[in-house]
Structures are given as C-alpha cells and as structure tokens.
Amino acid sequence: MTTVIEVPEAEPGVVAPRSKSKGGGGLGRYIVIRFFLIIPTVFILVTLVFFLMRVIGDPITAAQGGRLPPDVLAQRIHDAGYDRPVLVQYFEYLGQLITGNFGTTITDRRPVVEVLTTFGAATLELSINALIVALAVGIPFGLIAAQHRDKTPDAFLRFFAILCYATPVFFSGLLLKLTFSVWLGWLPVAGRASTRTELTMSSLAAPSGIYWLDAIRSGNFTALGDVVSHAVLPAIALGLLTAGVFLRLVRTNVIGTLGKDYIEAGRSRGVSEFRLVTKHAYKPALIPIITVMGLQIALMLGGAILTETTFEWKGLGYQLVQYLNARDFVAVQGIVVLLAIIVAVTNFIVDIIAALIDPRVRY
C-alpha cells in the first residue's frame, strides 16, 4: 500500500519481453506478466503443430487410408469435418482446446485427456525418479569438481559430465539392461512392475498412479521392492543425461561464487575450504540450477520418450510412439499439445520459484 508511486508506469496487457521495472513490490506484477507469457507460447505451438499436421492431409486418410474403400473413407472424413476449410477446423480446434477437449484418438477411440490421465502418472514417476538420480549425482560431483578445479578429480568429472551428455538414453539404457538384467540378472529387463504387482496396484482405491508412492501408502513392501527394482535402470538412464548438465552447472556456478569477496573474507577468517564450498558458495549456486531445471523438464520429456521406449515403460512417451507407429495423428497432435502446455506451465512455476528465491531474477 505504501508503494503508490510506481503504479502509473505499469503497462497493462503488454507482454513486453523486457519491462524495465525495478525495485520492490514487483513480484505480483512479475507473476502476472510471466503468467500471460504462457499464452503466446502455447498458442504458437498449438498453431504450429496444427498446421504442420494438416499439411500431410487429414488424419483419417493417414490412419486408415489403405484399409477402407474410398466412399467409406470419404464419408468418415465428412463426418469428422475434415473436408471443411482448414481455417474453420483450426478455430474449431482452438475452441475445443479452451474447453479442455483435446480430441479423440482414431485408433482406439479414447479422449486424449484420458490417455494423459492413464499414462501421465507413469511418465511423472519416471521423471521424478530421474530427477532424484540427477540431483544426487550432479550436485555432489559438481561440488567436488569445483573444489578441485583444474585438478585430476575435476578433469575426470568434467569428462564424465560430457560422457553423460554424449550417451543417448537409449544406448545407456541398452548397456544397463545388458549388464544388470541379462548378464548379472539382478534387475528386471523392462516394464514398470511385474504382472502381479500391476494387478495389486490397479486394484488399489484412489491410486496416485505413481507406483512407489502407492506401494508405500498401502504398506505393501513386497510390491515396493518390485516397483523399485523395475524403476532403478530407467531412472539411472534418464537421470544421468540430466546429471551431466547439473554437474557442470554446479561446478561453474560454485567456481563463480568462490571468486567472490565474501568467500575471500571467509577464507581469511580461517573457514575451512570444505566448509566454504558446501556452506557459502553452494547456496547462491543453486539458483541457476532451479532456473535451468525448467529447461531440463523439456529435455527430460524428450528423454522420457526414448527411455520409455527402451524399457517398455508404459507412460505417455511410450504411448505416443505407439500412436505414431499406428499413424494416429489426432492422438499425436493431442499429446504433443498437452505436453506443450505442461512444459509451459512447469516453466512458469519454475520461474516463479526462482523469483521467490532470488529477487534479482525479477526485472
């Protein structure tokens, strides 16, 4: 209430990429502007995907072209409205999206939203597991690398980080499967759980869909063991991909903060080198990690598609590939648009968190 002066300079409705407002009290405004930035992002992607998918013709011909007689095909196309002008279809599609209707798949006639609710949890579980692996590997190793900058451990860890990035998830997945499932026989080859556990899981009341969470909640520890043993390899495969990014990020940022005056001051007061890294330099270095985590979500979703295919992990990515192979482009379009919205919203949340932690982010 006391900050009266800065109100007039607000630019209503403008999604200016860089507004020059500085000073306190800007968080609410930042959130609003950042929120409205979601809309053009999603809108552009929806438009792009829609017109791209229409370039190849109507989805029904694509899915069932060779299998139906021409007159039946034409009737189907007419019924679905695909013979109308593309612009009409486009605006109708936009209207449907606003009401939460993402279309119905052609091959198995399910609403795309239902596909999301059925398989989304599996992808979420995989992403959470992978994120845990990535943070557990990336942060400590990044700290070690920063502390031993330009020495052997650093060189080794930097190489490791590049290797993480250079290895496609499906190849690391294949190697992990070969080693731990086929040769050593320690872990299951594929899937989210054994058939028995899956049955137990589906019979639960109000399941969250995240298997390990459900297993813990129902106190079923044999199921938990089964679920975890299935989850380990996919989580490592996908997690390592991101771990390399986190490692480098922590390393560069900690090195950056280690050069700051307050670290020097701490050092002169006799604070140990270890404590300097883990206590003083570490926290400011976390902020960029949170920011980059938003971008990592996009990377992870891409990686999840490949990981799910590698491990037959029945999530959204796996399902997307099934639909792709069946040439069900309504389903593909729906899932892609849904994922675009998810990515945009997560980025929004991550940005807000980053702004809450670090006031300098707001501008």
């Binding site: 552009i44 190697l175 499967k177 390399g244 950056g256 996009a298 891409g302 593909v332 994922l339 980053a354």
Partner: protein
C-alpha cells in the same frame, strides 16, 4: 539477404581456422581435451569420407559370393563385429552410418545457420513488431522438447517412409527447425549490442544502406560465436538424428545406415544376450558426440577463460534472450 552480403566474411572465417588458433592458445588439461576432441572428430569425418573403402560390405548387403550372411553371428571371422537379426554386417553399418551422420550435420547446420543468422540479423537490427513476434516464436519453440518437434516435422516431411535423400532431408529439416531459434537468439542479441556501437553509427552517417550495414559491419562482428555453436549443434544433430532413428523415423535400412535405427533393432536382441548389434553403433554415437562436444567445450572455455560463472544464469527458462550471453543458449538449456 543477397549472396554478395554473405560471401565476403566467409573467407576470413575459414582462413582463421578456429580450432587451430585455439589449439595454440591452450595448455595442459585444456589442450588434452581439445586434442582428444579433434582426433575423435577427425576420425569421424575421415571414416565418413572413406566409408566405401573402409567398410567390408555395403550397408544393405545381405550376401556375398560365398552365399547369404549368417544372422546374429557373434563378432569374429568374416564379420569382425558380427551380424544383425536381418543379416547385415555390423561393422559395415557402423562405418556407413558415419556418412549418414555427416550428411545430416552438414545439411541441417547449413540450413539453420543460414536461416537463424539471417532472421537474427534482421530482427535485431530493425526491431519493432517483427522482432517481437520472432522472439516470442523462437522462445516458444526453444522451450519445447526438441525431440517432439523433430518428430512432428519428420512426419510432415517424410510421412513415415523415406529414401536416402528424403530421409536425410526430413531429419535435417527437423533438426533445423529446432536449431534456428538458438542461432536466432545468439545473433539477435549480438546484433542489438553491435547496433549501438560507434562504427555502425558512423556507417549510417556516411549514408550506408541498412543492408550494407547488416551485411558488412554487423554480420562480420556478430558471428564470432558461430564456430562454438557449430560444434555444439553438430553433436546435438547427431543425437537428434539417432533419437529419430531409434523411434523409427530414420532412414530405411536399405537406403542408408543409421546408428539410431540399428540401436532400435538391437533392443530386442539384448534379452537374449546379443550385445554386438547394439553396442557398436552406440559406441559410434558416443565417440562422435564426445569428440564434437570436447572441441566445442574447449573452444568455449578458451574463448572465455576468466569467467565461467554467472554467464549461464542469464539464459533462463522462459526469459527472453538477454544480450551479452552469447554461449548461454547453446549450452545451458539443451546441451
């Protein structure tokens, strides 16, 4: 953008030979990384050029004078790295795969370089509504999972099945769409920075046309970061190509060898303990990407040896391209 504006700066860029000048600057560990990177990348390029000589068989060859190749044969004897389920020679397909990869890199990076640089220059120099729209579009594309976008584009172009060039172009174009925003952001940021420099102003005073200022004065100065982006994007192009191939959007095995496709086929082999069909193409991907990334990383570090700290924080998630962080988009978000 007509051709004369593009041709003059290209020669000095070439004759300066980024990697060699960096090699001279480097010491110790840095030099080691760069040398390893250069050697691996060199091997990759040489393999692709001499693939017809190096590969014992053709990429789609299933038999020779002494009859059909055995299927799923372990490495050794006539087939050094074994054969696949379909009876292809693994070594031959790994060697030929490098040719596919190089072609895709060249086509995709050339296309995205051209489009991204041109759009970035125009958008940064003229500003206004065009700039705003392009920035929002580029940000939207940039924030999206690259693989998904590549899949969509790939469907559009190839409609599933593809010949050699059809497959190459659908992959290359999908990768282009993903990369253009990155080049665009970097070049635009540089252009905005350079636009305020005195030499641009004096050119204006002398009556130079906008096209001449962009083509001659700004372009030349804005492209310093391109060798770095080139190497980093080349490695990403390989990964995207392999990812597309792995999902079945690559090139048919009869029209070219593609590592990702082979890995997909190898997945089914793993449960029966057959490792050679997947491990060798996989190693090929890893070594190639490793080599290119090491070169790119080293160039990056050598260009900027002082600060490696704060610069990455700039290119954050949904934030628009902030000027002065040339290398951030290339490495922070999508390494």
């Amino acid at each position: 953008m007509s051709t004369p504006t593009l041709t003059p700066p290209r020669q000095p860029l070439f004759s300066r030979l980024p990697v060699i000048s960096h090699l001279k600057k480097s010491v110790g560990l840095q030099r080691g990384m760069l040398v390893v990177g250069v050697v691996l990348s060199g091997l990759f390029i040489l393999t692709s050029i001499f693939a017809p000589l190096l590969a014992p068989y053709g990429y789609s060859q299933l038999s020779d004078a002494s009859g059909s190749f055995p299927t799923q044969q372990a490495p050794g004897g006539k087939h050094l790295l074994g054969t696949t389920v379909g009876g292809y020679d693994v070594l031959s397909r790994v060697v030929w795969g490098s040719q596919t990869a190089v072609t895709v890199i060249i086509v995709s990076v050339a296309m995205s370089l051209f489009l991204g640089v041109a759009l970035g220059l125009l958008s940064g120099y003229f500003g206004g509504w065009l700039d705003r729209i392009l920035v929002v579009v580029a940000d939207a594309i940039y924030a999206f999972p690259t693989l998904l976008l590549a899949i969509v584009i790939s469907i559009v172009i190839s409609r599933g099945q593809s010949s050699f060039w059809g497959g190459i172009f659908s992959c290359a174009f999908s990768i282009t769409v993903v990369f253009v925003p990155q080049y665009f952001r970097v070049i635009r940021a540089e252009t905005i920075r350079l636009k305020a420099e005195p030499f641009v102003e004096s050119a204006k005073v002398l009556g130079a046309s906008s096209m001449r200022i962009i083509g001659r004065h700004i372009f030349k100065n804005a492209t310093r970061t391109l060798p770095l982006m080139f190497t980093l994007n080349a490695s990403e192009a390989i990964l995207t190509l392999a990812g597309l191939g792995f999902l079945g959007f690559g090139i048919e095995p009869t029209s070219a060898a593609e590592w990702g496709f082979d890995l997909n086929k190898a997945l089914a082999d793993t449960s029966s303990g057959i490792w050679w069909t997947g491990v060798f193409p996989g190693i090929a991907i890893v070594l190639t990407v490793l080599g290119l990334t090491l070169v790119g990383e080293s160039i990056n570090d050598l260009n900027d040896p002082r600060i490696r700290g704060r610069k990455r924080a700039g290119g954050g998630a949904g934030t628009p391209a902030s000027p002065g962080t040339p290398s951030a988009p290339a490495e922070a978000g999508k390494p």
